[in-house]
Amino acid sequence: MVFNSLIFVFCFLPVSVFLYWIVPGSFVKNVVLFVLSLLFYAWNEPFYLILLLLNIAWNYLSALELGQEEDEKKRKIVFWITIAVNLLLLGAFKYTNFLLGIFGIAAFDVSLPVGLSFFTFSAISYIADVYKGTSPAQKNPLDLGLYIAFFGKITSGPIAFYHDMENQLAYRPLSKELFFSGVCLFAKGLIKKVLLADQFALVFSALSANTSMLGAWIYAISYMLEIYFDFSGYSDMAIGIGRMFGFTMKPNFDHPYSAISVQDFWRRWHISLSSWFRDYVYIPLGGNRHDYVRNILIVWFLTGLWHGANWTFILWGLYYGGILLLEKFVLKPYLQTLPKIICHLYTLVLVLIGWVFFFSPGILEAFSTLGRMINVVHPMDSQVLFVLFGNLPLFILGVLFSGTLYDRVFHLFMDRSPKRASAIYTFLYVLFFVVCIAFMVGSTYQSFLYFAF
């Protein structure tokens, strides 16, 4: 089941909210939410529910053992075995065919369990927090199960850290304000997904075979905007759903396309994943205290690999590792003195090149697209002009809404006249929500891009 399906919006979510709000007590509420989360997960592929339950059981038991063990050497062994099993599981399902392909062995007809990368990282966050002593081992398997399997975040995150969620698992006060802010955020995410991301997906698809220079640029830019509205829309919906059930999760995006350096971009894009790698890989490796270059390259190699079993993702990760090193050792003084607009353009172009590696099925195709982007011999054709002018309002909206304009206008109105602004925004959300539903009824929905990871 996906968030942008009619069955989720009009059946699963309202029924879940209703059941959750009417049952008494934190324990019963958690039971209801856990059962609903298992149902949500099992909706399309019930078999993998076993894998999820085993993952919860494995990490629950391991953390209890870590909590009981006093000998530091033994704790270390238990910790590393637990991490190894989590990673083996991830590797077995996500990377087996990739590894077989390297050795020329035929692939297996196996589908990737939805959300595997996300719930494995959540589980590792829990085990690492218990090992470091940041959090005690969870005695209640239901609470741990809810942390890993909560349907608001299991399919594509955000990868909420265990120490951030720990207290909320035991007790979450319900408030109307939090609930309605969750509903608004969910609607905002749905609007981003259906009215923007899915429309950019159509432009991206229409220009896939275009060979002109302008066509290649519009093709790449449409993906750049699609993935932003797709994933930030999903994250808004996930965080919004969390709020409806009393959870508060940190934002996953902070206007990444308004960044003025690549380092700045990664502080704003998929924040939960960057933070996870920083806290659980980069800092334990030594951070910037020693072997900085090695640590950065390891982290970015792993970030690329995490996104998928394909050389293009690995290259994409190393590309960012290389740029971050370049910024640190060479470009930093220039970026600090250059006008912001130049820094902004520099960031956008480098990020755009990164997306070309990301969306291309192979490295050759990526370089072919990059080649088309500098193909001055064939600057444009009628198809690209038709697509561009036909979708001009979409591109204008995309550029405006991917920046900080929307939030700035919202805060300006809210500061001046909160009541009036609330009424106007509520009306707009309802209006665009209805338009979204019309789009969802009228066409087959597009799955979220990050489901593939």
């Binding site: 076993i50 059981a57 494995w58 077995a92 399902f93 007809d109 196996v110």
Partner: protein
């Protein structure tokens, strides 16, 4: 909970992990054999002389499949409207094509049964025993007295 009990439970969970992994990976692998090789091995020593290879238009019309979307596809059909004998061998471009292929073939079988029901019970019987076998990147559909032999040779050809 006692440490030994914890460890015992963890061993059980690990065994269950292995069980899940084996169950998931106990599926056919993509065949690296060439399409022509699979086709000739599948047809080997069988009398299929009455079957005529059909063109792309017939694949679209009779089976509701787009031949361009597959790596390769062949469709043979008996040149007699009173008989339902036919077979299809397909090589998929990717595994997502398996399910739509099976659905189209099932629809074809149902349509054929509706067509022959009432006046050709022997053909309905043949259609009831139709073979639809999907093996990773290859699939076979056969309605023929030789269907089981075709299936056996198809499996050994991969």
């Amino acid at each position: 909970m006692n440490k030994n009990i914890l460890r015992g439970l963890k061993v059980i969970v690990l065994i269950l992990f292995v069980f899940v992994f084996v169950s998931v990976y106990n599926v056919p692998q993509d065949s690296t054999k060439k399409f022509e090789e699979v086709l000739s091995q599948t047809q080997k020593d069988l009398d299929l002389s009455v079957m005529v290879q059909q063109d792309n238009q017939m694949i679209r019309r009779n089976l509701g499949l787009d031949p361009e979307s597959y790596e390769q596809i062949v469709y043979y059909k008996i040149d007699d409207v009173m008989q339902a004998n036919e077979y299809v061998l397909v090589q998929f471009k990717d595994h997502s094509q398996q399910k739509p292929f099976e659905e189209s073939i099932q629809k074809r079988i149902d349509d054929q049964i509706n067509l022959y029901e009432g006046y050709a019970p022997d053909q309905v019987q043949l259609l009831d025993k139709a073979v639809v076998n999907v093996q990773a990147n290859y699939a076979l559909y056969a309605v023929d007295t030789n269907a089981s032999s075709l299936e056996a040779q198809f499996l050994s050809s991969l």
